[in-house]
Symmetry: C2
Subunit: 466 residues, 2 copies
């Protein structure tokens, strides 16, 4: 077997399926199609595979993730893939107390719900109500919910403000959305958000917000040994030369018999294509014939969040000895929304990770890197103590600055998109099928959603006569 | 003087300013810069000038507009331009009764407010309140409004629903937004909408919603003799060979000394550029260096409306003899939101025009053209009588199907964009300045806003040393 190659030829021989994008979704689709005997090429714009997963080398063979990293119960598609690939998981560090920061004050707490006597009752009620409403959303057709039009005409913030009656519950949901959406409840449609929550489960377990925000029993429960990007690098190796790197696709033509995918390095003709890139980037491809206008309109409206991951490396996870989990929740005042102990399973070096997303990104991303680093380290210090101010290394990954993602971690529908245009999200465009984390009903925007969407696209293509 | 040429050369000699887009904004900027002695090239993707204005030939030297057409008081920039170019205006046909259609029933009315005893009180209150709140929005910095964050966290629909208490006022505002936004109150940020209303005036007359929706005394008061596209065709002739058609710009590079604009036909190097295309299309250009991520994020979020203009041509405007104005308002049941008598000033042929926008577009655009034509003619018949069912010609212009606009009539900000990212709307990107109807504070999205933005961009460029 040989790994992925760099584009250097003027295109390649005709194949059954051309896959655009070598993230988790595209590679999963390619792998499944090869297993059915199809010939496949995977065209990747970057010089690496893995899309929104990215390992950062810590030395000594250890890594920490600069992109998507967590996995938890009901995320059976990505867990199943990991098992097939021989990648083990290990629990996220979750011992000791978390720290809740609000109005300059830091308080220890345990569990997933922060100690805010004013905000918590409203938050609890809101969580109960959102789980109830999420169960009224048909998972594969949210636009058919009885209240779809009304829910899609308001923001999630409008609904939260009403339910929590201004007690601060909205702020706490925004802490979660800062990393989950790379945005805030102010931007997201209520219908989209209820569908997103309905998808935090699987066919046998209705989605709940608790599963989304939780560490133990939730979506942050575990991590992948060797880093989440290994899922993609191993699949790319198994694809044995079928992955072409440095091949950004700028145009896709199709007619009644075939589809041709064009990149600087040449063109590939195929019977079918699976386009596994974020919808907003798919809309920027030059399509001939043009994308159906409602699909173009929807893809343009599925706007990417804005997210940066910040990590500081220390000789050891010094906070553990103080009975701290490294988990922080910043209701106010932080550059970060939340922090985690991202130490590799060996226990050293110690790594603190913080999400800088949504409104905080808008404030902090344009500022000088040095100021931002200082602010992030001060946040880490509030959660773990002053030793956090002097890391041996500091790494930032701003996903908005990545030309081939342009945001992170996922796309969110603003009001007025999903109710009317939702049916266009996954609809094949003649010979072109869609995949990617935004094309999943369960765990939309997560690693598991990406794998599900790739599996689904491959199944749909494999079911076709030609 | 010679008119615009087709691109056929491998780029051109260096110029002081390269203008991208030969719509009203780009041509206005180019004309103003030429007047200061600058050398200018204007690169236009289409084979015509005029952008979102487009004359349709009726024969006998008469035209009707398939794009933006109306002009009214306080729109002094486009009126001033028309006067300079020798283009006269004439009043929109506004004699006789309008027709209000709701639940299958059509009723005559006069004035701008339809006869709906249940909806009108709520609508009146909402209009009063929106004018009051609009006056609290700083016209050149809406993000500085005291309630900016709260207003930008909700949709215009949420606010209207509360103020009108479900009496139908929201539906009536949506009739207006169907053509003004090509969308609905469900999609638009309240802050954006209040700023939009604040801009329906000028430096001496505070914006009001009445001026936006009105015919007499409002934004639909008058039309341009010879059609609105003449503004652009005459400016292009005066630019005397400086306009290059068929030159879609796909990449823009800049460094400390110059900016280079690339299209298939070649490249032009300039000291400065004015990019006068819709923000979402500007974001699709390949920028080197990349657009600042917050500007890219904002431009991507300024989503275009969806609008089709439908026109039926008759031997004469037969409805006038029946005491009808041809103006129709469809609260429900219509493919159209509203209709107008678009007969040319000579009085023949008779032309009815209807706006098919927003949610109606989402329903009707994907349907077969024949079904849509039938539905539109039935709507015209409700407003003018059964003779409308048999036009001698029928013309549709779907602006979403235009590759170089991708929607119409303008871009609308969803919640969560303007409050944080608004300052990036007009901020020059090093040597690149912005123009276009979306870059105006007064009459944003209108012909007047386009002309204003072009004048402002030219002034900013002319003020620079080089």
């Amino acid at each position: 077997m040989s790994g992925p190659g760099r584009a250097g030829v003027s295109g390649g021989a005709p194949v059954d399926v051309a896959v655009v994008g070598a993230g988790l979704a595209g590679l999963t689709a390619a792998r499944a199609l090869v297993a059915t005997g199809r010939s496949v090429v995977v065209l990747e714009a970057r010089d690496r595979v893995g899309g929104r997963t990215l390992n950062h080398d810590l030395g000594d063979g250890q890594v920490v993730e600069a992109g998507g990293q967590f996995v938890g119960p009901t995320q059976n598609h990505v867990l199943g893939l990991a098992a097939e690939l021989g990648i083990a998981t290990y629990p996220t560090w979750n011992e000791g107390a978390g720290v809740y920061v609000h109005r300059g004050r830091a308080r220890r707490f345990t569990g997933d719900i922060p100690p805010d006597p004013l905000a918590v009752p409203g938050l609890g009620l809101a969580m109960l109500r959102m789980n109830q409403l999420a169960r009224q959303v048909p998972i594969d057709a949210p636009w058919r919910a009885r209240s779809a039009a009304r829910w899609d005409a308001q923001t999630f913030a409008t609904w939260l403000r009403r339910v929590t009656a201004g007690t601060g519950g909205l702020d706490l949901v925004d802490v979660f959305l800062g990393s989950a959406y790379g945005g805030s409840a102010a931007e997201a449609s209520l219908l989209f958000s209820l569908h997103y929550i309905a998808g935090m489960g699987d066919e046998h377990h209705p989605g709940t917000i608790e599963r989304g925000i939780g560490v133990a029993g939730g979506a942050q429960e575990s991590r992948f040994v060797g880093g989440s990007q290994r899922l993609s690098t191993i699949m790319a190796e198994q694809l044995d030369g079928r992955v072409v790197l440095g091949a950004p696709v700028h145009a896709i033509d199709q007619d009644a018999r075939s589809v041709t995918v064009h990149c600087g390095a040449g063109s590939w003709t195929a019977r079918r294509a699976v386009v596994a890139v974020p919808p907003a980037l798919a809309a920027r491809i030059t399509w001939s014939p043009r994308l159906p206008p409602p699909q173009d309109a929807l893809f343009g409206r599925l706007t990417f969040g804005m997210l940066m991951k910040c990590e500081a490396v220390y000789d050891e996870p010094f906070w553990r000895a103080d009975g701290l989990s490294g988990q922080g929740v910043f209701r106010s005042g932080g550059a970060l929304c939340s922090t985690f102990d991202n130490t590799p399973p060996s226990g050293a070096p110690g790594v603190l990770m913080g999400f800088l997303g949504g409104r905080a990104w808008r404030t902090w991303a344009p500022r000088p890197a040095r100021d931002r680093r200082d602010a992030v380290l001060r946040d880490f210090a509030q959660v773990t103590g002053r030793a956090a101010l002097r890391p041996r290394a500091y790494v930032e990954q701003d996903w908005t600055a990545e030309e081939w993602t342009r945001g992170g971690p996922t796309a969110v529908a603003p009001p007025g998109a999903l109710a009317d245009l939702g049916p266009w999200r996954d609809r094949p465009f003649d010979r072109v099928h869609w995949a990617g984390a935004e094309h999943a009903n369960y765990w939309n925007g997560y690693l598991d959603g990406a794998v599900r969407s790739g599996t689904d696209a491959a199944r749909a293509v494999a079911a076709l006569a030609d």
